[in-house]
Structure formats: C-alpha cells, structure tokens
C-alpha cells in the first residue's frame, strides 16, 4: 500500500514538474519569438522596397543590438532561402550549435510571399536548466516530506487500528456468541418439548 502512495506522490511531483517545464518553455519561447518577429518584420519591410536581405548595411548592428535585448538570447542568425548565413551575432559556439533544441526560427517572406530566408534565434539553456533544477529539487523535497509524513501517520493509524482491532473483534464475537446462545436456547426449548411429548 505504501508503494502505491509513494507512486501517487511521485507521479504528482513528476507531472507538476513537466507542467512547469512546458509553461516555462512556452513563456520563454513567446518572449524570444517577439525578437525573432521584429527582426523578420524589419527584413520583410526591406524586401518590399526592393532591397535584398544582404543589402542592409545596418543588419549586423541591428542583430547585435537585439542580442542585448534579452539575457537568454545566445545568438541570432539570418540565413537566406538556401540556408547560407547572411549575418549573425553572438558567440561562434552558440551560432554553430545548430543541433540544440532551443532555437526559434521565423521565416522571412518577400513581397510575393516566397520564402526569402529565416531568422534563427538560439537561446541559452543554462539559466533555464538552473531554474528547472531549482523547481525539481523543491518538488522532490516536498514529495519526500509528504511521503515521510504519510508513512508516519500511516504507522500511527496502523498501530491505533491494531489496538482497536482486538476490541472490535471481541465485541463482534460477543454479539455473535449471544445470538448463538439465543439460538441454542431456542433449540433446547424444542428438545424439551420433544422430550415431554415422547416419554
């Protein structure tokens, strides 16, 4: 039974942790999307007046300034439709780390609605990992405490139930014995009548 309660508390902790992780992801992604959208919007405005993506001399400076907008952002890369890098900001390691899952991309369309390129914003996992570890530890601690308190209370309950069990069984047995004695007496009554009727 304790295993079941432990499983239930553990499951609640794990599910709450996953819920927190997804809410945090959602909030952070929507924040980073804000920056990606703005860069992509500016690039699209530039395309509508006939300039190519790479033609903007202030592009590099713009990406550099957007890098400072949020401490989570590790790198921003603007690529053309063929995937060639046109401009980038951030550390080389962060730019190169294309495999990491914390990348948000926003497609840039030209005036005809064709894909002209993409803005890729890579954001750091370190602060997120710390935040998640903090929550994970706090949840496990609370789960462990709840389980410990539960085990303690369960042991007390069990001890109390054991003490009362003997009383309860004795009380029940007394009632049943009384019923049996009652029935026995009634049967004896029948026996006496038979005895009286058959000398």
């Amino acid at each position: 039974m304790l295993l079941i309660f432990g499983f239930a508390i553990g499951m609640a902790c794990v599910l709450n942790y996953f819920k927190f992780e997804s809410t945090l992801d959602h909030l952070q992604r929507s924040r980073i999307a804000l920056v990606a959208h703005e860069i992509a919007d500016n690039a699209e405005k530039q395309l509508t007046i006939g300039l190519a993506l790479a033609d903007n001399p202030a592009l590099q400076q713009q990406l550099q300034s957007k890098l400072k907008v949020d401490p989570l952002i590790a790198a921003i890369v603007l690529v053309d439709a063929q995937g060639r890098t046109l401009a980038r900001s951030g550390s080389a390691a962060a730019v190169a780390d294309a495999a990491q899952p914390f990348t948000l991309s926003r497609v840039v369309h030209d005036a005809f609605g064709e894909v002209a390129g993409s803005v890729l914003v890579r954001y750091a996992r370190s602060s997120r990992a710390q935040q998640l570890a903090r929550v994970r530890n706090a949840l496990w601690r609370s789960g462990g405490l709840a389980f410990g308190l539960f085990v303690g209370a369960a042991l007390l309950l069990l001890a109390a139930a054991r003490r009362r069990l003997a009383h309860a069984l004795a009380a029940d047995l007394r009632v049943v014995q009384a019923r049996v004695a009652e029935a026995d007496a009634a049967i004896s009554d029948v026996e006496q009548r038979i005895a009286r009727a058959t000398p």
């Binding site: 599910l15 996953f18 809410t23 300034s65 369960a154 009383h167 029940d172 029935a183 026995d184 009727a197």
Partner: protein, 683 residues
C-alpha cells in the same frame, strides 16, 4: 454494521484523508513555486519588448531626431499590439512627464512614472513596466508598457488549475490501484470475516470463514466456525430427533409434537443454520481481477488521445487531395470506425474463443499498435497502427464486457456494468491529462512507448489474474443479419436502442465533445479550460455511476434511471440559454454528467432484462453487439447533428436542439417503458 466493519470504515476514511493531505502538500508547494518562478518570467516578456523598442527609439536619437518628432510611432504601437495583444497600454513620455504617444489605457496610468532604471509599477488596472530612454540633445524620455494585472492572475490561475488536474488524476489513479489491492487475495479473509460476523449478528449462521487466514485474526475464524458448527449440529440433531419422533408415534403423539414442530419452524424463520458455500466478495472475483488489466490497457490507449492530432501532423507529408487538417483527424476516425464495426462481430467471437483469450489477444495487439505508432514515420504507417489499436480496443472491450455479463446476474448487473464503466471513465479522465503532460516532457514517441509498456503490464496481469476459459455452454455462431432482424421485432429493445442508447450518445458527443470546446473558445476561454470542463464530466461520472447503479439494482428501477437520465439531459440543453457565459456551460456539463451517470449502467443492464428470450437464443454477445453498434452510431451522429444546427442557427440553439432531442427521446422511452412507477422486474 459490525464493530469490525465500523473500524474498517474509520481506517479507510482516515487513510483517504491522509492521502488527500499527502497529495495536497506537493500540490501546494508546486502552486507557490510556479507563482514565484513564473511571475518574473511573465514580467521579462514586457522587458524584452521594452528593450527591443528602446533600441529602435534610441537609433532615431543617434540621428538627432527628437522622440516627439518621430513619425509612425502610433503605427508601430498598433503593430506591436496586434502581435502581442496582452500589452494593452503602450506609451512614450518626455522629460516633463508629458505623454507624447499613447495607445490603449489612459494618460493617468503612466503619469509620474519616471524611474532611473527599468521598473514595474501597479497603476490602476495595469501593471506598467517603465524604461528610461535617451532623447535627442541629452534629454530623457520613458517608454511605458502596460498589461492588465488580471493577465498575470489569469496565467497563475491556469497553472493552479493544471496543478488541481494533476491532483485529481493522481488521486483517481491511487484509488483505482487501491481498489485492485482491496479486491486481491490479501483483503479476502477480512472481507469474509466481516461478512460472517455481520450475518452472525442477524442470526445467520450459514457462512463459514476461511481458516487459512492472516496472523492478526488469530484463531478467531476457526472458533467462529466451531461456534456455528456446534449450533448447526445441535439444530440438525434436534430436527432429526423430531423427525424420528414424528415417524415413530401415533396420531396422539403427533398432536403432542405439533407444538415442537411449530417451534422448530419458527426457529428456521428466525435463524439460518444450513451451511452455504463461501460467498464471493460483493462483486464477483473475476470482475475484480479484470479491473487492473482493463484499467492499465485503457490508460495506455487514452495516453495518446490528447496529442495524437499533433503527432499526426509531424508524420504528415503533403499529398494531393489530403490537407493537413483532414489528415490529423484520420487516425481518430479510423480508430472509431474500426471499434464500431468490429464490436458486434467480436461479441460472438469472444464467446467462441473465450473471454481470457480474447482479452489477451486484444492486449497483445495493443502493445504492438502502441509500439508501432511510436516508431511510425509516415501517415500510412501511423494509420495502420491506429487501425490495429482500434481492433485491440474492440477486442478488450467485448472481452471485458463479456466477463462482466458472465459473472453478474439480474440483481447485480447494473453494479457490475458500473464497475466496467467506472474503469473506462477513470482512464478517460486520467489518460489524456497524463498523456498531454508526458508528451510535453518526454515527447510523443516516448509516451507512445510508455503506452506499449503499460499495455504489456496489463497483459501480464490478465495472464496471471484471469482464470482459464471454460467452454461456453452454447457454441456461439457468427453474427447474421437475421439476428438483427429478430432483435428488431422486440419493440422494447428497439426503443431502448433508438430512444435510449443512441440519443444518450448523440447528446454526450454532440454536446460535451463537440459544442463545449467551440463555445468555450467563443466565450474567450482556452482549450485547456474546455478540457477541464470535459474532465468535470468524467469526474461526475466516476463519482455518481456506482451509486446510481446500486440504487437501480436494489430498487429494480433501471427504466426509471434511463428516463431520468434523458430528462436531465434535456434540462442540460436549456441551461446554456438560461445561464449565459462559461457558468452556464459548466452547469450544463455538470448536469449532463449526472444524467449520463444515472442512466449509462442501468441502460446496459436493461438490455439483458428486455431481451431474455433473444439472449437465450442468440447469446449475450450478439444482443450486446447490436446494442453497442446502435449506440456507437449515436457517437457518429452527435457531432454531425450539432454541426448542422450550429451552421444554420448558432451555438445556443444547438444546445437547445440537442436538449429537445433528449426530451423527445424521453417521451418515447417513457411511453414505451411506462413512467417512473414501473419496476424493471416487470419489464
């Protein structure tokens, strides 16, 4: 109630309260943690937007353009608000505190806000983030970004509700696991002893305890048995003596013995001495043994419900004539179609093959289907595996239903079916919620893999727990059209199906699963809110179904329960019109849950009562197969009818139309089965 039973109830109640407290503690900690960690994250979004706009404005000032002279700021603010409607107030004020540009909110909300560093203020209904900017000529200006204070509260409320959902899911799963434990071998001696004592209290000495029992009980079961054996021997000897005396005496002696005979007869009415075989627990043991594997299998299937459309979109590749919107619905449609088509056929097949073998075959197919879906790379592969999952579900459903029908009689059928429905409802409440959260955390493929593992565990439990099949008394033949025709001649069966089962499903699917999500979104709610309302339906079902079934079985009021369910469904249709807003929808879902909970198990039990001759002739599998086919037709018709009414008139009218359909069905049902006064025993 015996002292042992009273003690058992007290221990169970205290253990339940302790469980609630034990689950509440991590939930409360999670709620506080979420608030502490997510509030700065929420505020950081405004800061990121502010810094982004700051770079834009300050670029202008580097060209010596004063902020007051900038053009297009209103358009910029408008564009920002289109993309981020949560920022209702955007304003720019100069060094004197005069508002230069503003979109949304009021001037008063930003007046006097001139901090040296970015700072968050509560101003009226807004939470305003103010950032200092450099203006041309070395001046200062401030950018204000305000969001409604309720937005953060709404986000936190959403997370609290999610935590509450996790709490309910963990509680339900624990209670389900505890029920499995309570139905297991460890609890049996206690249940038997409790029952023997209770019967002994009432003068019934017919029951005996299992003497190979638990340590805490000591010699009690044996001494109780001895006590009953002695009194029974006493009674038997006296009866034999009286019999002998009656045979050996003349008419005069018989007259004298008449008083003893009368006493003995009175004794037999007052006490029960004849030893009966040990009775099974309240619900037959095979049902309790079915519970665990059935629950695990259904949870495994329900895990993928919440993310299947999204997962389908990841394996979809564009094909002519098949849009992504259509493709994401295909696995669900295929699953439902296969379940509906196979159920009538498999009803008889499970009688031929044996319930255990059918159940194990279904579970094995389920393991294969979930594992295959986890590895699927194309839409065709996924469809194949989901089709197989449909066949697995149908096999397990008919086998489970078969076990319920085989091991229950007219007195306990509703309760047995309620147990079956209860397991389905608990899994449908817990499975999608856990599945959605797990898919977020582990990914859809890993969650499907976990589903395969759970189904495999269900297989092990079924293999070890369920007794080997015994050959069915009557070899079931294949389902024929003539069988359905024969059933169609039974008027009450037709009315039960067409005015009872089918409308119930039309109301459920059309109302709860089609209209509610759409109306909640229309009223400004979220899909998560719709999901929680649907979960509320499931919770009501889990809580009320066993109670209603017990009542219907005890009072023989199965028809009355179905009628009451239909009438309450009709009332639920009117509620969204009477109570506008989300409160009306929630009240309607609640009432619909009660309506379905009251009627669902008695409705199934009524089939066996109404079709006794047909069951004797065709078998339960066939009769229930046809009944389930008609019922599932209601599943398909529900959304179609609701969509047709919505398209022509609107949402409120669709609720009312569905309510009206339930009212008409109630009238037809009442006219055929009689009104509440009629007891099912006479049906």
């Amino acid at each position: 109630m015996s002292a042992l039973q009273r003690l058992g109830w007290r221990v169970a109640t205290l253990a339940f309260v302790m469980l609630l407290a034990a689950l509440a503690l991590p939930s409360l900690v999670a709620a506080r943690l979420f608030e502490r960690e997510l509030t700065p994250e929420y505020a950081a979004t405004a800061l990121t937007l502010g810094r982004s706009l700051q770079t834009l404005f300050e670029r202008a000032t580097t060209h010596d353009i004063a902020l007051a002279q900038l053009v297009g700021v209103d358009a910029l603010f408008s564009q920002v608000q289109q993309q981020h409607p949560e920022f209702e107030l955007l304003a720019l004020s100069d060094a004197r505190g005069q508002v230069l540009f503003r979109r949304g909110g009021s001037v008063q909300a930003v007046q006097g806000l001139r901090p040296a560093q970015p700072a968050l203020h509560d101003s009226g209904v807004y939470s305003v983030l103010t950032l200092p900017l450099n203006d041309a000529g070395g001046g200062r200006a401030w950018l204000h970004i305000g969001s409604h204070r309720n937005d953060l509260q709404a986000l936190l409320r959403e997370t609290w509700l999610d935590i509450a959902v996790v709490f309910v899911v963990a509680l339900f799963i624990t209670l389900e696991l505890l029920r499995m434990l309570a139905g297991g071998a460890a609890a049996r001696p206690w249940i038997e002893l409790g029952r023997t004592l209770r019967r002994g209290h009432h003068g019934d000495f017919s029951q005996r305890c299992d003497t190979a029992t638990v340590r805490e009980l000591g010699a009690l079961p044996a001494s109780l048995n001895r006590l009953f054996d002695d009194v029974q021997a006493h009674y038997t000897a006296t009866r034999a003596r009286l019999g002998g005396a009656l045979r050996g005496c003349g008419a005069a002696g018989r007259r004298q013995l008449r008083g003893a005979l009368r006493l003995l007869r009175a004794l037999r009415r007052r006490w029960h001495f004849e030893v009966r075989a040990r009775q099974a627990p309240a619900l037959a043991e095979p049902l309790m043994r079915l519970r665990a594997p059935l629950f695990l299998f259904l949870v495994a299937e329900d895990l993928s419900r919440s993310f299947m459309p999204l997962f389908t979109s990841t394996v979809y590749s564009p094909r002519p004539g098949l849009s992504q919107q259509l493709a994401v619905g295909l696995p669900i449609v295929l699953f439902m179609f296969i379940v509906a088509v196979l159920q009538p056929v498999l009803g008889r097949a499970s009688e031929r093959w044996g319930r255990r073998r059918t159940l194990l075959a279904g579970i094995a197919l389920g393991v294969l289907a979930h594992g295959g879906a986890a590895l699927a790379q194309t839409l065709v592969e996924l469809l194949l595996w989901r089709g197989l999952a449909g066949a697995a579900w149908a096999l397990v459903f008919v086998a489970g239903q078969g076990v319920v029908l085989d091991h229950s009689d007219a007195r306990s059928r509703s309760q047995a079916l309620a147990t079956f429905v209860g397991v389905i409802m608990v899994s449908s409440v817990c499975g999608p919620s856990i599945g959605g959260i797990l898919a977020d955390g582990l990914g859809a493929r890993a969650t499907l893999g976990l589903a395969a593992l759970l189904a495999a565990l269900a297989g092990v439990l079924a293999w070890r727990g369920l007794a080997p099949d015994v050959p069915h008394a009557r070899q079931a033949a294949r389902l024929r059209w003539s069988d359905a025709r024969q059933l169609a001649r039974r008027r009450r069966f037709v009315v039960l199906c067409v005015a009872g089962a089918m409308p119930a499903k039309i109301v459920l699917i059309g109302f709860c699963f089609y209209l509610v999500p759409l109306v909640v979104l229309q009223l400004g709610g979220t899909l998560a809110m719709a999901g929680r309302l649907i979960m509320l339906y499931g919770v009501i079902m889990v809580l009320v179904t066993p109670l209603a079934a017990k009542w219907a079985d005890r009072r023989h009021r199965h028809a009355a329960a179905v009628l009451a369910g239909l009438m309450l469904s009709a009332l639920a249709g009117v509620l969204p019109l009477a109570l506008p807003g989300l409160a009306g929808v929630a009240a309607a879902v609640l009432l619909l849950g009660v309506a379905q909970a009251i009627s669902i198990a008695p409705q199934s039990a009524l089939v066996a009562r109404v079709c006794q001759p047909e069951i004797a002739l065709l078998g339960e599998g066939t009769v229930y197969g046809v009944y389930r086919l008609v019922e599932r037709t209601g599943n398909a018709l529900g959304p179609l009818l609701a969509a047709a009414v919505v398209q022509r008139w609107g949402y409120s009218e669709a609720f009312a139309a569905i309510g009206a359909l339930a009212a008409v069905a109630a009238l037809c049902f009442g006219a055929t089965f009689g009104w509440a006064a009629e007891r099912t025993a006479h049906a």
